[in-house]
């Protein structure tokens, strides 16, 4: 039974429950529109990086025409060029907005899916810092234009910083208009706007440092589609240029970019000290989220453990771990070779290593391959499946979430759409011996319902499962198992109707197969060639 995802604090637990539910509904809706493979909600982190690439390219181009001596005039010249300037400037702006949206959705997903604490805390904290630095970079970008919005941003920012004991003189005096704006100001601003993205790369490296096989870019069709749509809108709805800044007039009648400058209408007129208190409070709350959601005591997940007696040193768990929590170390029991070692500080207890180990020598306590076999034996003893029955092995975070517990009785396991349910913490933790055992025990078919691959809470669970079932990846499903009796489907939490339809279709196929076998009218080939395309190969 997968561990509950609520945190220590009841408020954060409620936030996670409500947030996860709303996000899951949105995921299901977007899956209907985009399909799970190109659902942008599953690629938010990679989309931010993709946006950074586009911003770098368009930014370097715009830099060729920007002049620190006449900032507004140079931007006006760029904007006046419809083919070589305006749409590129607009694209730069809209892509930066999309990056903020993608980053917020990405953070929200990680927060409500309980993926911010423990070994993932470094990624969360670095992500919060990344976001803050990103907003700062956007601030400098808007100031570069030196229009009325820029004037307001600069003056309001100066007002906030003047209350801090940092500068030797009020920097707000830079913007009173008694002397011309020094070019040094625009140079410093431009330098910051270029230097900050370089710093972003360093923080991004930290952000993904504890992940194996990081996917930094979204799938090409999604990326190209995103850029194409943004280009079309950039051409059709170009960014306007507000009037030039006038330091002897209070700015008015300008548009505010909600994504970067949402704070401007809120802080105007508010005491600077109060604004800083709010900023500090929100930052502290964001940075302390891992501590607030950390599971403690009995609810703390148990890290995986390698049983040296069973470990053969094949290194498969080391290769499969999505968090690089397993290393191979020399044995100390007199045997030759290496033995696996789990770094508990990096282990999130996903259990994927359980599914990777043929001798079933590694995994979290209670979820190793041996534990899974014991559980399935008990499952069969309670309700042995028949030749026309489909057994559903469901990821505890997918469409059949909670189905086992909700419908189980004292004498029978839970069910979903007429199929008996075995729930696992992650589809990637399923040992293929369980599938074989169910088929040999008489089940007509075994369907594994996983989350969509890019929404796997443990990143690579679905990819490894499919590789083990269809591509011979250790611990592979043996060839003697009839693949026609095995299905892997992807169904997000609220795609229950889709999963129900899949189960019914598979049941009909199993029944047809059974009829054909009983009639003896066809020559059975019990081995199938795996399809050519794999999830892992697509980099998903």
């Amino acid at each position: 039974m997968p561990a509950s995802s609520s945190g220590l604090n009841g408020v954060t637990g409620l936030f996670q429950a409500l947030g996860r539910r709303s996000l899951a509904h949105l995921d299901a809706l977007f899956n209907r529109v985009y399909g799970w493979r190109y659902n942008p909600l599953y690629h938010t982190g990679a989309l931010v990086v993709g946006c950074l690439v586009v911003l770098s390219v368009t930014g370097i181009y715009l830099l060729l025409f920007y002049r620190i001596g006449s900032p507004w005039a140079s931007v006006e010249r760029i904007t006046s060029q419809p083919f070589t300037g305006r749409w590129i400037r607009t694209l730069h702006r809209y892509v930066s907005d999309v990056a903020v949206v993608a980053a917020v959705v990405h953070a929200f997903r990680m927060a409500v899916q309980d993926r911010a604490w423990g070994p993932r805390a470094l990624a969360w904290v670095s992500g919060v810092v990344l976001f803050g630095v990103f907003l700062l970079c956007g601030w400098t970008g808007y100031v570069m234009v030196w229009d009325t919005q820029a004037q307001m941003l600069a003056m309001e920012g100066a007002r906030l910083f003047d209350v801090l004991p940092i500068f030797s003189e009020p920097i707000g005096r830079t913007f009173v208009g008694e002397q011309a704006m020094p070019s040094a100001f625009f140079f410093t601003n431009l330098f910051a706007h270029i230097a900050i993205p370089v710093g972003l790369l360093l923080i991004l490296w930290i952000h993904v440092s504890r992940l194996a096989r990081t996917t930094l870019m979204p799938p090409r069709p999604l990326f190209r589609g995103m850029v194409a749509v943004l280009v079309v809108v950039s051409v059709a709805w170009p960014a306007r240029l507000d009037p030039e800044a006038d330091l002897l007039r209070v700015p008015s009648d300008f548009g505010v970019d909600v994504f970067y400058n949402f704070w401007l209408p809120l802080t105007r007129g508010a005491p600077a000290g109060g604004v800083w208190l709010v900023i500090l409070a929100l930052s502290a709350l964001a940075l302390s989220y891992p501590a607030l959601t950390r599971r403690r005591g009995a609810r703390a997940p148990v890290p995986s453990f390698v049983h040296p007696r069973h470990c053969t040193g094949c290194e498969q768990c080391y290769h499969d771990c999505p968090y690089e929590a397993i290393s191979m170390i020399p044995r100390d029991d007199g045997r030759d070779g290496l033995v696996g070692f789990v770094d508990a500080s990096r282990c999130v207890s996903c259990g994927i290593c359980s599914g990777s180990c043929a001798p079933m020598g590694v995994g979290p306590d209670g979820r190793t391959g041996r534990d899974q076999l014991r559980d399935v034996k008990e499952f069969i003893s309670r309700d042995a499946p028949g030749p026309l029955d489909v057994v559903l092995v469901a990821c505890g975070r997918g469409a059949a979430r909670g189905a086992a517990a909700a419908s189980a009785t004292a004498g029978a396991p839970g069910s979903f759409a007429g199929a008996s349910v075995i729930e696992v913490s992650c589809a990637g933790s399923l040992h293929t011996s369980v599938i074989e055992y169910l088929v040999r025990a008489g089940a007509g078919g075994v369907m594994i319902a996983s989350c969509p691959p890019r929404d796997c809470w443990n990143r690579e669970g679905v990819a490894w499962l499919e590789a083990r079932v269809y591509e011979g990846r250790e611990a592979e499903l043996q060839d003697r198992v009839d693949r026609r009796r095995v299905r892997i489907v992807h169904a997000a939490e609220f795609e229950r109707a889709s999963l129900t339809a899949d189960i019914e279709l598979f049941r009909a196929q199993v029944q047809a197969l059974d009829r054909a076998l009983s009639e003896g009218s066809i020559d059975i080939d019990t081995t199938c060639e795996p399809p050519a395309v794999s999830v892992a190969a697509e980099g998903l």
Binding site: V33, S70, R173, R249, F259, R487, F506
Partner: protein, 207 residues
């Protein structure tokens, strides 16, 4: 059926072309919303004008010196001997702004942790657009107890010592401000007079 091992079969999902068209339409709508939010109108501010005071000046140092006796000088190391010993402080300033007879008084102190850096005056007064009578006065606060006593007409502080402080700076005038116009009162380039620096067009940036 999505996933591996599925037999190709008719699906209840929309054909791929329809899905592609819908996804493009949804994406366009999404980006259009983003584009609209990228230029969200700023909530309108009032049409009030501003009288802004902004200048920088070196603070006056009020010192009290005494001559060291021969014995005191002899007690000092040879390289540190001096004939006078002075103690002092940089004085505070009083900024008085009078707009149509309504007076506000602020005190500004030298900046820095040791209060030995320039004095910065930087404050705004919000007024309604239209004509206003404005008077600005800037004078040093000199007194032995360090705060609020004003140098008297003879230039002596309350210790009775003659202290010649800086002459107060004053500016009087009438301003006729349009909506959101900022009337800037500052020091002239010589730093000896207060002037109004009011322009309707901002000066261009340095080249």
């Amino acid at each position: 059926m999505s996933g591996r091992g599925a037999t190709p079969t008719t699906s209840a999902r929309a054909p791929d072309r329809i899905r592609a068209a819908v996804s493009i339409a949804v994406s366009l709508l999404f980006v259009l919303v983003i584009a609209w939010l990228s230029f969200a109108p700023m909530p309108p501010s009032s049409s009030d004008a501003v009288i802004r005071l902004s200048w920088r000046t070196q603070p006056f140092r009020l010192e009290q010196c005494r001559t060291l006796s021969a014995e005191e000088q002899a007690a000092l190391a040879a390289h540190m001997r001096k004939t006078e010993e002075c103690t002092g402080r940089f004085v505070d300033y009083e900024v008085t702004l009078e707009v149509d007879g309504v007076t506000t008084i602020d005190t500004v102190s030298p900046s820095g942790a040791r209060r030995d850096r320039p004095v910065y005056v930087f404050q705004d007064a919000i007024v309604e657009p239209g004509p206003h009578a404005v008077a600005v006065r800037f004078r040093a606060l000199i007194g032995a107890t360090g705060g609020r006593e004003v140098l008297d007409e003879t230039g002596r502080d309350d210790t009775g010592q003659d202290t010649e402080g800086p002459a107060p700076l004053e500016w009087r005038g009438s301003v006729n401000l349009s909506d959101r116009e900022i009337a800037l009162v500052t020091l002239d380039p010589t730093g000896t007079h207060l002037i109004r620096f009011g322009q309707s067009v901002a000066p261009s940036a340095e080249r």
